[in-house]
């Protein structure tokens, strides 16, 4: 019996492995607003959509707060839509709301209960971004730029990806990694 459960858990692990990768089509998914109401990706998406996993307590994510605000302002004007998601089990909706108020985010932040969406994207750190084009295909995955210290940034990879897509050009750097805080996931029985 135990063995059967172990096999099922392994199968579930395989099935639950990263579903959305560079080049793959993203089907509709749901996040929750801070009142707990489900909101569909289809209701939030635009011609180009950026999904970014963020946190309230992660110093790396917080070091990007103002850069995220600038991104939002600069690219919303170009009809890019942004979906900011908090998937941390340790950061409840009321904390996310207070953090957004304190920082002055001009955008909504959504919750991803039980990190279901983070699992589908295989998001591991905060901040971590995904860019989805008009056909629903992921064209960029990774860091916002290459340094948490804004004065040391050399490459703004997320902006480069958005600019390329807006110009109808291929994204040159499709995946980048950066140091960040882990997404604090729910502990699932295995």
């Amino acid at each position: 019996m135990t063995k059967a459960f172990a096999i099922l858990a392994l199968m579930a692990g395989t099935l639950c492995a990263q579903e959305f990768k560079i080049g793959s089509h993203v089907p509709d998914f749901q996040v929750r607003d801070l009142d707990g109401k489900p909101v569909a990706f289809s209701a939030l998406k635009g011609p180009i959509t950026v999904v970014t996993f963020i946190a309230t307590e992660c110093p790396v994510s917080n070091s990007y707060n103002h850069r995220m605000i600038d991104l939002y302002k600069d690219y919303t004007a170009k009809n890019v839509k942004f979906i900011f998601v908090n998937a941390n089990r340790s950061e409840p909706a009321n904390e996310v709301r207070e953090h957004a108020r304190r920082v002055g985010f001009p955008f909504a932040v959504y919750k991803d209960p039980d990190n279901v969406l983070a699992d589908r994207f295989d998001a591991q750190v905060t901040p971590e971004s995904y860019v989805i084009d008009s056909s629903g295909v992921i064209r960029y995955h990774g860091a916002i730029d290459d340094n948490m210290n804004e004065s040391r940034v050399h490459t703004r990879t997320l902006r480069a990806a958005l600019d390329a897509l807006l110009d109808g050009k291929p994204v040159l750097s499709t995946q980048t990694k950066a140091f960040g805080c882990t997404i604090k996931r729910v502990r699932r029985a295995s």
Partner: protein
């Protein structure tokens, strides 16, 4: 317990002791480090001063190394802090009495550095990479990990 008491009693001394400078390391340096440590079981601990779970893990790793050093365990710490936080990282290493070799990541490109350490690693901290005596990476522990699980994995290699 002994270490905790020693830590508390020695705090004033530690505070005034000279800091041991962290040695800069890039991806090529890491490969040399792995070569140099063949013959020992090594836990490479990637951490940063801004990472709370990393700070919580450091003293536990120091204890684990104390316990298993004689059997061949070596803990090597590599701070992912940038140069601006080098002094703070050195203070943490000193405060937590981490005795093993301590390094500071000095990479031109974090993306390349992370991929060189482990292509499957996202860059999330804390991250521990366990190498066997032959210098092969056998396991990784990313995020908050139960120290007992790490110890069991180390024991299997000693």
């Amino acid at each position: 317990m002994k270490r905790t008491l020693a830590f508390l009693f020695c705090l004033p001394l530690v505070a005034s002791a000279p800091l041991v400078p962290l040695v800069p390391i890039n991806e090529a340096g890491f490969q040399k480090l792995v070569e140099a440590h063949k013959g020992k079981v090594v836990l490479y601990d990637f951490w940063a001063t801004w990472c709370a779970p990393c700070r919580a893990e450091l003293p536990q790793l120091a204890l684990l190394e104390d316990k298993l050093r004689a059997q061949g365990l070596q803990v090597v710490t590599i701070s992912a802090d940038d140069q601006d936080h080098k002094a703070a990282a050195e203070k943490f290493i000193q405060m937590f009495r981490v005795d093993g070799p301590a390094y500071l990541k000095q990479a031109d490109n974090d993306d390349h550095f992370i991929n060189a350490i482990d292509p499957k690693w996202s860059g999330a901290l804390p991250a521990l990479f366990l190498y066997d005596k032959a210098g092969h990476k056998v396991r990784s522990f990313v995020g908050e990990t139960d120290m007992a699980e790490i110890e069991r994995a180390v024991h299997r290699l000693l």
